[in-house]
């Protein structure tokens, strides 16, 4: 890759240090100096749909951009490249790739993006590329971004410490950034001005013990009922009218039981019961949905549509019925296998994730992974005894959970023994 020709503007730094803000500022300054031509747009790539929507909102606020942006996930842009340049990809040795083989798609897209005609082709529409959360890019995904960087003006935000995948260490994206540019390190936190939260985050990041105080508190709760009582009192005191997230590294027995208790009981002081909905992954939701319906191995479109209509999920029923109708009208296909329908239901659920609104009001439960890059007024961390991984990994998990909070954060630790171990010591 012609490193010399690459123009990359990179911003690194801890959570809430305003990387995205700086990204927008420098992009805006660049646009003032070199406005887009007619028909040109800014391409913004993120790792997950949640961050895509947030980035879209941020870019939407840039006055000199006037909405001339296209925000998409790295994976869907990779598929788009591969799909359009399929014959060149085949010539480069990439053939027979399904859209769900994300890594292979990205690998092919990376090879394509290195080709002059391809990155020029992208640059003709998108002279500028914005990548947020770059630390989450695998080698293949980075390959596509690096290829495009041969021609596109690239603006990147990354924080190595927020990468939760243990396979990405050392982090390929951060290594690449230091190779192609001098990333600007941001150190001034902006998300919150609560000192206790800032200190705790800094300590965890530095491998030190976070200090439990008032607005950042660590409590040991050996049993689920105890944790549930803490949750209810916290919600009762600090939950009214606030965005609250209950975050756990692994949603297992402890967190389920704690939430179940909270939903069924009052504390001695009368707080609760509070039912906090758990944000489910779409794949899981699809599996659960499929568990409730009976599909024959082979059935005709009309009866499949009837089964789904009776199952109650109107959106999925509509998605599937539409697809069945298209198949009938364009291919005279009226019989479908169970697998075909399952694939479609899964697709329908995964599309919901893409269109779901990003701002969460009220109270929600979620894993650290799905809390990434979001912010809440009040965060309750459930730290079960079963958290695995290295000390470093545990620190990253806690850091990602704690830094979601703007006003206060409480960490409920199940195992007493953990109190003296990283990330708490």
């Amino acid at each position: 890759m012609g490193v010399s020709a690459v123009t990359v503007h990179a911003f690194t730094g801890g959570a809430g240090c305003g990387k995205t803000h700086m990204l927008m500022d420098s992009l805006s300054a660049h646009l003032d100096a070199a406005p887009l031509n007619v028909g040109q747009k800014v391409l913004a790539l993120t790792f997950m749909h949640g961050s895509r929507r947030r980035l879209e909102e941020r870019l939407g606020m840039l006055q000199n951009l006037k909405g001339k942006t296209e925000c998409t996930t790295i994976d869907s842009f990779a598929w788009r490249l591969f799909r359009r340049w399929r014959s060149l990809a085949a010539a480069l040795g990439f053939a027979n790739i399904e859209p769900t083989e994300y890594e292979r798609v990205c690998e092919a897209a990376g090879a394509l993006a290195q080709v002059k005609e391809v990155h020029n082709w992208v640059a003709a529409t998108f002279p500028i590329l914005v990548v947020d959360e770059a630390q989450d890019m695998t080698v293949n995904r980075l390959g596509m971004v690096a290829g495009l960087a041969n021609r596109l003006e690239v603006f990147v935000a990354a924080d190595e410490f927020q990468c939760l995948s243990e396979e990405l260490r050392p982090n390929p994206a951060c290594a690449w950034l230091t190779q192609v540019c001098a990333p600007e390190e941001l150190t001034q936190p902006r998300r919150t001005n609560v000192d206790e939260l800032l200190d705790a985050a800094q300590a965890i990041r530095a491998g030190e013990a976070p200090k439990s105080a008032k607005l950042f508190m660590i409590a040991q709760t050996s049993t689920a009922p105890l944790a549930g009582a803490w949750i209810n009192s916290n919600l009762s005191w600090y939950g009214g009218g606030k965005r609250v997230a209950i975050i756990t590294p692994t949603h297992g027995t402890f967190s389920r039981a704690a939430l179940a208790w909270a939903a069924a009981n009052k504390t001695k002081r009368g707080a609760g019961p509070y039912n906090v909905a758990w944000e489910q992954s779409e794949a899981k939701a699809a599996t659960e949905y499929l568990g409730t319906i009976q599909l024959a191995d082979q059935a005709d479109g009309v009866s499949i549509a009837a089964v789904l209509a009776a199952a109650g999920d109107a959106r999925t029923a509509r998605d599937v019925a539409e697809w069945l109708e298209i198949q009938r009208r364009t291919r005279a296909k009226v019989h479908f296998t169970r697998d075909e329908v399952v694939k479609l239901v899964e697709q329908s659920f995964s599309q919901r994730r893409q269109s779901r609104r990003s701002d969460v009001r009220g109270w929600k439960g979620m894993t650290v992974h799905s809390a990434k890059n979001r912010e809440f007024d009040n965060v309750i961390v459930l730290w079960p005894a079963a958290v695995g991984g290295s000390d470093d990994q545990k620190r990253r998990l806690l850091y990602n959970a704690v830094t979601r909070a703007k006003e206060r954060c409480i960490v409920l630790v199940q195992a007493a023994a953990h109190m003296g171990l990283p990330p708490f010591a």
Binding site: R83, S87, E117, N120, A124, T125, F126, I326, R328
Partner: protein, 596 residues
């Protein structure tokens, strides 16, 4: 830009087809060889929406489209400046075409430029399906990225071609059925477009006309003839409504739009009379639209834009001199033209390498250039004569179902001379089992080059037959022809030792006294017998005056006429491989031999 090739599947009479184009191709071919289908396919993939006719079931091959059947047309566009995608980024960028490379020699498109001679190209596709529920045809136009099968109606939707690019290509089509009555008028889309592109709206004159119509110097309603009626109407109105308005009669609705739509072109003759276009002959009517297109082309050329024009059958309604001028003007002003024609004359105006002979067999459409590459300086004289001097004859023979290569030019002339008066005789067609003039085209073989001429024609026509003499040289030609990699569809020869003049002798022998009497002027000494006529014809080859006398004598002598018809229809049978004739019999070696 230029359309380098076109692939067609399942469109009208074409099951599949692939045709490559140069800059100004002239497409010739018999009826039903797919000329119109080809032009309509171009319009489907390149034309603005207005240009595309609404499709029905009959536009699908076989006329009975099932749910999964698709019409598919893919056009390869090339000649981009500098073969550099960045200079044409409106074509090559995300959501537009992907970069591909065209090998013009083969027509193949490659994903990477492995050969510097390959040209930058993009491919546009159009597909259509018939919906059995709504009974309508759905059409999409998209960038054709790769040849893997995709269904734009059921799979992930391909990138659509924006109207802006279609406008930039500026493809115009002049159909053979020209229904151009009010062409020079604002009711006509082409006229409006041309006015804006090539001139400016005559708004001053139109507004003045509007104002004049609003306040006429001599109002119709004030005419003494109609005035009593108007007065009654006004008084009735006044009795019905307070402050009733008064009736006025005006031409048009007196706004600029209705003035524009009311404009009707007149043509003032040298005699001073001005006659509206609708009252003119069809030649002038169809000329109007072509004139507008020429102006539009001129405006496009002046602004450096593209102008692609398809012109169906310029011979319709136009005198030959106008045809030639028009075709040349259209070609000069356009980036690329597609001319279809039935007329060998129109085809012969073009450079022989740009004339494409269309062939369609079992629904498979293909095209071959009349001459594959320009003739080199060293090309033999006979070849030059054949492709240049004789090309009207060769092209017209190519449009027939069977093509006959005789051994010499005399055969060509004699067959043609005899056929002509025969075809004008009442009932001639009933006299023949197979109508020679309709089924067989004869080419003027030069210098007895029957072998080479056969080879040249083999590429262009599926049914090429050869006719040789019954002498030693002729037998030798027949042997050589059998040895060819692709031997003729039929080899025909005159009887042993005979040539065409002997066959003429056989025709004359049907009524020797009568016909010889009619041939007194054929030679300096009036012939006394058919044998003398034959001897004269053999010594004086290519005496066209003599041939015409002979033809006239045969056509007017019933017995000879019957034999001539018998011979020609037998020849047509032999060409078609039809054993229904007794006049020609296929021998054991496969050669059809004349039986006098």
């Amino acid at each position: 830009m230029r359309i380098a090739n076109l692939r067609i599947e399942n469109f009208r009479g074409v099951k599949s087809g692939f045709v490559q184009f140069g800059r100004h191709p002239v497409l010739v071919g018999d009826n039903n060889t797919g000329k119109t289908t080809l032009i309509e396919a171009l319009a489907l993939v390149l034309g603005r929406d207005r240009l595309v006719r609404e499709l029905t079931e009959h536009d699908f091959f076989g006329s009975n489209p099932q749910a999964a059947d698709r019409i598919k047309v893919v056009a390869t566009v090339t000649d981009f400046p500098g073969d550099d995608p960045e200079q044409s980024s409106q074509w090559f960028r995300d959501e537009r075409a992907v970069v591909k490379w065209l090998d013009e020699a083969t027509g193949h498109v490659h994903p990477a430029r492995n050969n510097p001679a390959w040209r930058l190209c993009c491919q546009l596709g159009a597909q259509a399906r018939f919906d059995q529920d709504s009974l309508a045809v759905e059409t999409v136009r998209y960038f054709h990225d790769h040849d893997e099968p995709i269904d734009p109606f059921a799979d992930e939707a391909p990138a659509p071609v924006p109207g802006k690019l279609i406008q930039e290509l500026s493809f115009y089509l002049v159909r053979a059925s020209r229904t151009w009555d009010k062409v020079f008028s604002w009711g006509n889309e082409l006229f409006k477009r041309t006015v804006l592109a090539a001139a400016a709206q005559p708004s001053g004159a139109l507004l003045a006309e509007r104002d004049r119509l609003r306040a006429p110097a001599q109002p119709i309603d004030a005419d003494p003839g109609i005035q009593p009626l108007i007065e009654h109407l006004n008084s009735e109105l006044a009795a019905s409504f307070p402050n009733a308005p008064k009736v006025q009669l005006r031409l048009t609705s007196t706004d600029s739009r209705s003035v524009m739509e009311a404009v009707s072109a007149h043509f003032a003759g040298t005699d001073g009379f001005s006659i509206p276009a609708g009252r003119q002959g069809s030649g002038l009517v169809s000329m109007q639209g072509l004139l507008l297109l020429l102006e539009l082309g001129r405006a496009r050329a002046a602004s450096g834009g593209e102008f692609l024009m398809a012109l169906e059958e310029p011979e319709v309604h136009l005198p030959p001199s106008a045809q030639q001028r028009l075709v040349q003007r259209v070609q000069a002003l356009s980036t690329q033209t597609f001319v279809t024609t039935h007329s060998p004359l129109v085809a012969s105006m073009a450079d022989p390498t740009s004339v494409l002979i269309l062939k369609k067999h079992d629904g498979i459409l293909s095209a071959e250039p009349f001459l594959a590459t320009p003739l080199p300086a060293a090309a033999p004289n006979w070849k030059r004569k054949f492709f240049q001097h004789s090309r009207v004859d060769v092209l017209s023979a190519l449009m027939q179902p069977a093509l006959l290569v005789p051994e010499g030019r005399a055969d060509f002339q004699l067959l043609r001379c005899i056929l002509r008066p025969l075809m004008m005789t009442e009932g001639w067609i009933d006299m023949m089992q197979r109508p020679f003039g309709i089924e067989v085209g004869v080419v003027p073989t030069e210098d007895a080059n029957v072998i080479e001429t056969h080879r040249l024609m083999q590429r262009l026509h599926r049914r090429v037959c050869c006719l040789v003499d019954g002498d030693a040289a002729g037998l030798d030609y027949a042997d050589q022809l059998w040895q060819e990699a692709a031997p003729p569809s039929a080899i025909i020869r005159w009887n042993d030792g005979a040539m065409i003049e002997d066959a003429i002798g056989w025709i004359l022998n049907a009524d020797e006294p009568t016909v010889v009497g009619k041939l007194a002027e054929i030679s300096p000494q009036p012939p006394a017998s058919t044998a003398a006529v034959v001897a004269y014809l053999k010594t004086k080859k290519m005496d066209i005056i003599a041939y015409e006398n002979l033809a006239e004598a045969i056509a007017t002598t019933p017995g000879c006429r019957a034999r001539a018809a018998d011979l020609l229809s037998g020849l047509a049978c032999a060409c078609a491989g039809d054993e229904a004739t007794q006049r020609f019999v296929r021998e054991a070696n496969g050669v059809w031999v004349f039986q006098p």
